[in-house]
Amino acid sequence: MIAAAPEAGRIQPEPAAGRLPSVLRQAGVRGLVEVKLFFRQREAVVFTFALPIILLLLFGEIFHGQIGHTGVSFRQYFIAGITASGLMSTTFVSLGVSLAADRDDGTLTRLAGTPLSPVGYFAGKAILAFVVALLEIVALLAVGVGVLGLHLPSTSGRWLTLAWVLVLGAATCSLLGLAVSSAVKANTRSAVAVMNLPYLVLSFISGVYFVFSNLPTGLQRVAAIFPLKWICQGMRSVFLPNSFQIQEAAHSWELGRIALVLGAWLVASLLICIRTFRWQGMDRR
């Protein structure tokens, strides 16, 4: 039995006039759905949060002592690097893979049939990435302070820097991940490889696990093209004493430049997303 017989006026197909829901509202609805879906996949949640924490503990155990005569411990250095790389992992890698998964499991096909704007869809992903990145940083700081005895940012100015580097870094890496995945049109399995390769390479050359200024100059130059190096640098400005600036390649935190580079990547990624994104593989098959 079709449960309810159509009472008068119940299923009238009056023209769907009226205003379309704003992109902001659509993004909010989609973002909430993304967050729910993420937290309902237990394994993914555990893995996402555990990996950077384990890395932080491992590196904290392996490397003791100070960096040169800077008075900065390796552990304090790693908290900056691993915060940055965790940020990239939860945004760039996760979203790139999730776009491919949406393509594979029929989600995109169904969304394509609605007036959801692609911007609303992307923004929904970015909302998820931001929520996860924020929680991960909180978890990392809790473990860092509680277990490894690290220092939290010391001034309100540094907290402010943490906030804008986090927001700008998460937005940039989110869009970049979506742009790469959208341009490559990988399926879920290949997306895992496609997204992890640049992430891992950048992690090694951007000053996550090694003191950046100790890397070969060539690698430093390559790393400086990409966002992760700048996010790391921003995080160091939050977690390390200002005296450590002397160790930086430019002998400065270069906060303005960080904002500039990340902003440029943000715009470029957005353009790539808009140019390459298709709800489904048109003319595939």
Partner: protein, 299 residues
């Protein structure tokens, strides 16, 4: 009826639609007019071009050639406002689903300007008892109903249903047919693809039989069953079975009996059903279009 083309009375108007995939012709010059409020079925075997045609009408696939107007707009350049006026139930199944039925339908309702109430839509597809269940835990037929709920929650003027009942058990199909009749009764235009003849017969006011990317026949289900006054008389002779087509089978059998004076071995008189007619059309298209290859009748 459909003589003045391009009138607003038409929900869908197609002229000379063509589409190739890597040199293989999928749609080979289709003309269609679907009136507002009509239930129209595209009937045909797998590979006949049904899904390609529908996906072009939905704006999900580009065409190579031809004119297409859906609700007065070319779907190739359609905007979000146009999307808000159509509903789509695609062919593909879900691979995953950690949302509940209610969350899913509510999500989709939020993308439309004047949605139906999600709970009412869930009731209309007979899923009220499962509204709190996650999609992953539903049967294939139940997931399909959720798809239909998503397709109609935006209050569409035109609803596309691509093989909606594949995998349904007979009872679920009956229920689904009732739902479609209700929607149609309330004025929704419905374009349905199917390879089930009984479905086309039960639901559609008009049917187009698609074979080899072309329309092999178009008309009401009764029209297509067509030459129903013609019957086939067949019987056994020493040389094997003989068949004769005639509009006067009774007379023919009497003559046949008169000439031998005995029981006629293996005598049968049959009339063409829609199914016979359909298979004939498909076979004819198959012979005519060897290039388009894989048109295996699925029944």
């Amino acid at each position: 009826m459909a003589n003045t083309i391009g009138e607003p009375a038409h929900a869908v108007r197609v002229r000379g639609l063509r589409k190739q995939y890597h040199g293989k012709t999928a749609v080979d010059g289709i003309d269609l007019d679907i009136e507002r409020g009509e239930v129209f079925a595209l009937l045909g075997p797998n590979g006949a071009g049904k899904t390609t045609t529908v996906e072009i009408l939905e704006g999900h696939r580009r065409r190579d050639d031809g004119e297409v107007s859906v609700l007065g707009i070319d779907p190739a350049g359609a905007n979000r406002a146009w999307r808000a006026r159509i509903g789509i139930v695609p062919q593909s199944d879900w691979a995953t689903g950690e949302l509940t039925v209610r969350e899913m339908v509510a999500q989709y309702s939020a993308y439309f300007p004047r949605p139906r109430d999600p709970d009412e839509v869930i009731a209309a597809v007979g899923m009220t008892d499962q509204a709190g269940k996650r999609l992953r835990r539903l049967s294939g037929g139940q997931r399909r109903r959720v798809d239909v709920a998503i397709g109609i929650v935006g209050r569409p003027e035109l609803l596309f249903l691509d093989e909606p009942t594949t995998g349904f058990d007979p009872q679920a199909r009956r229920q689904f047919w009732e739902l479609i009749s209700e929607l149609s009764h309330d004025g929704t235009t419905i374009l349905l693809t199917t390879h089930y003849l009984d479905e086309a017969e039960a639901l559609a006011r008009r049917v187009a039989v698609l074979a080899g990317g072309r329309i092999a026949a178009l008309g009401t289900p009764a029209d297509l069953g067509g030459a129903a006054d013609e019957a086939t008389v067949s019987w056994l002779t020493p040389d094997g079975t003989r068949s004769v087509q005639t509009t006067t089978p009774t007379q023919f059998v009497m003559q046949l009996a008169g000439s031998s004076g005995e029981e006629i071995p293996g005598l049968s008189v049959t009339r063409a059903s829609l199914e016979d007619r359909y298979l004939e059309l498909i076979e004819a298209a198959d012979g005519q279009e060897p290039a388009s290859g894989k048109i295996g009748a699925t029944r």
